[in-house]
Amino acid sequence: MASMTMVQALNSAMDVMLGRDSDVLVFGEDVGYFGGVFRATEGLQKKYGVTRCFDTPIGEAGIVAVAVGMGAYGLRPVVEIQFADYIYPAYDQIVSEAARLRYRSAGDFIAPLTIRAPYGGGIFGGQTHSQSPEALFTHVAGLVTVIPSNPFDAKGLLISAIESDDPVIFLEPKRLYNGPFDGHHERPVTSWAGHPASEVPLEHYTVPLGSAAVARPGAAVTVLTYGSMVHVALAAALDSGIDAEIIDLRTLVPLDIGTITTSVEKTGRCVIVHEATRTSGFGAELSALVQEHCFYHLEAPIERVAGWDTPYPHAFEWDYFPGPARVAAALRRAMEA
């Protein structure tokens, strides 16, 4: 065990997998010598050599395409897209190719790649360093979409993603890289040190894909969320005094529907929280599923708290970021209905 930040835990996952499986390799823009702009691959090139962890040209379509080709050969590439905002040039390779290789070849070819990308706001990155594009991937058949919220899960999920034979979109909440930010930006920055989930085994372990976690048990209302918003929801529960049960989905597709329905059937109320824009966001899917599975248990309309339907504006970080006040207000509305 060691106390790790989320970046260190991700680094440890890649380290473990590079060490265990000679078919695993890590590449992307600035990930080799420099160790990545967020340091997620620091030291890996030094330890495993330039053929296992290397820099690529600035061509996201090319990065994913060569990963698909390597996967076809039998390797297990782990690629980094420097910011999720820069994944769009690779969209065709992800959607039309990686996601469908298995299906269109009747299992003859697979795309066992992991595409890591930092996502989300809270760092004054403006509209091209802050987006949360998960719904663009959850909508695509054949892709697994994973979003961790703490160091322990980040490592275990990333190892599962690398070991998976399906293409995994692994979105990392960059605002959580170095501490469990709960949206209270006016307060001093907190670090992961001392947080229970920062205790991370040094060796190999997995957190299974497709399984949610209960981040906070509660009886009054169910909160469905993931990534940075898990910590915001925890703060909102504390601030409002509402006994919310907070579900950290961890994997969006395939979704752990059992954990969701068990909780909503217990509480009868549901608030969905994500940082991504609201319209056609993953919250819409969650809302529909809860309605389909739990309609007769619901005692209040389902609430959604999400990013506004605008690009992420540089100046208005905290007006845009769905912070604890907005989540607490939604919890209250759900309780009052």
């Binding site: 420099f34 053929t51 040209p57 600035i58 403006g126 091209t128 605008t310 690009p311 100046a315 208005f316």
Partner: protein
């Protein structure tokens, strides 16, 4: 099968890393003035050698020599110097503001100022620019107020972009400066479209686009070359090869195998490779490409061979991936110093004038900064201003769901 050797993969690596002395032995700048200047209606296939050479005008003594000497008036030279020095003064001041926590981010163009300055003066003011975040000099050259740049960088109440963009991602249609994207490469092929439109409409304006060496790996780069070539679009396609793309040396974009200018050859486009730290040479090659485009002879690719003298942006520390002393060893010198030396050699400038200009520009950018600080952060403006800045311009007409969200934001 038995006879084939085992395959192995080549992974490009720069020759020097931190802790080692800089190595520019691969950069062997030819003497200034050595290359011929072809007629602008030359066949692209007849000038392929220029894609591998290096057009230089200023020699080591600051004299302008050779066929590419644009014979500029001293007044134009002084304008160029002023644009470059304004750019550097603004960059220095804004980086200082970032270090003091007053702004979130900044990207300098230190060492590359001659490119935007020289090209702006060779283009017509109404020609359209599709820049990256390192062509702030183009805005300055076209008379965009430095004060407005500071407002943008500060995301303050007078920010022309209403706080929507990261610092340095300017936009000004009135100054022929296309809104800068954070996503690399996209502007390169868009510029071709603008140029195609100008040709379709029988206009006489041309377009110019810029891209970094690193970003040439994006598909947009090749699409730009293909479209520009087949439609003979009136566009100048500039590659700013400053040797680095964050921590990645230009070899990772293919600079080890051939030049960036040579990418044009397979597309049948003429290419010029120029000393990007030589204001006169930059001006001269641009003027050549401008004349060619304006004579309906189509696009030109220009590689500006230069060096990113400082970090990528305020977000990185270059001494983590390249020798700390590397910038000092760059064989093509500093563009401002070289033009200054030239002007002094001509008897058209003096140390005293230079010092006075530096002081004047320092006062100008300080004044711009004071203006930005006085305006105050847009983030603290009143709710209606904020709602307009946040929800306006998403669509031509704000639909019901955005109006609802704006209201919800106002209510907290």
């Amino acid at each position: 099968m038995a006879d084939s050797p085992r395959l192995s993969l080549h992974i490009p690596e720069p020759t020097r890393r931190p802790g080692e002395p800089p190595d520019f032995s691969a950069v062997r700048p030819p003497l200034a003035g050595g290359l011929d200047r072809p007629a602008v209606d030359v066949e692209a296939s007849a000038i392929r050698d220029l894609a591998y050479g290096l057009i230089r005008v200023l020699d080591d003594d600051g004299k302008a020599v050779g066929a590419w000497d644009p014979h500029l008036e001293p007044e134009t030279l002084r304008s160029g110097l002023r644009i470059m020095m304004t750019t550097r003064a603004l960059d220095d001041r804004m980086v200082r503001a970032q270090r003091q926590g007053k702004i979130t981010f900044y990207a300098k163009s230190a060492g590359e100022e001659a490119i935007a300055a020289g090209q702006a003066l060779a283009l017509r003011p109404d020609d359209m620019g599709f820049p990256t975040y390192r062509q702030q000099g183009l805005l300055i050259a076209r008379g965009y107020p430095v004060a407005a740049m500071a407002h943008q960088v500060y995301s303050d109440r007078s920010d022309p972009m209403q706080g929507r963009q990261l610092p340095c991602l300017y936009s000004s249609r009135a100054h022929g400066f296309f809104t800068i994207s954070g996503n690399l490469g996209t502007q390169f092929s868009q510029a071709v479209g603008w140029a195609m439109a100008s040709a379709l409409k029988g206009d006489d304006r041309i377009a110019a686009a810029w891209i970094g060496d690193g970003a040439t790996a994006e598909a947009d780069f090749y699409e730009a070359l293909t479209f520009a070539s087949i439609y003979r679009a009136p566009v100048i396609l500039n590659i700013v090869n400053n040797q680095w793309a964050i921590s990645s040396f230009q070899g990772l974009a293919g600079g080890e195998e051939t030049t960036f200018a040579a990418r044009a050859i397979g597309h049948g486009l003429p290419a010029l490779r120029v000393d990007g730290n030589d204001f006169l040479a930059v001006y001269a090659v641009t003027a050549w490409a401008v004349e060619r485009a304006r004579s309906n002879l189509g696009a030109t690719v220009i590689e500006h061979f230069t060096y990113r003298a400082e970090g990528h942006s305020t977000s990185d520390d270059p001494s983590r991936y390249r020798p700390a002393e590397e910038a000092k060893g760059w064989p093509l010198g500093d563009p401002i110093l070289r033009l200054k030396t030239h002007l002094i050699a001509l008897g058209e400038w003096s140390e005293e004038q230079h010092t006075a200009l530096a002081a004047e520009l320092d006062a100008l950018v300080r004044e711009a900064q004071r203006g930005a600080e006085a305006a105050g952060p847009l983030a603290q403006a009143d709710p209606t201003v904020k709602a307009q800045a946040m929800f306006g311009d998403v669509y031509a007409e704000t639909p019901w769901h955005l109006r609802e969200q704006a209201k919800a934001m106002g209510e907290g």
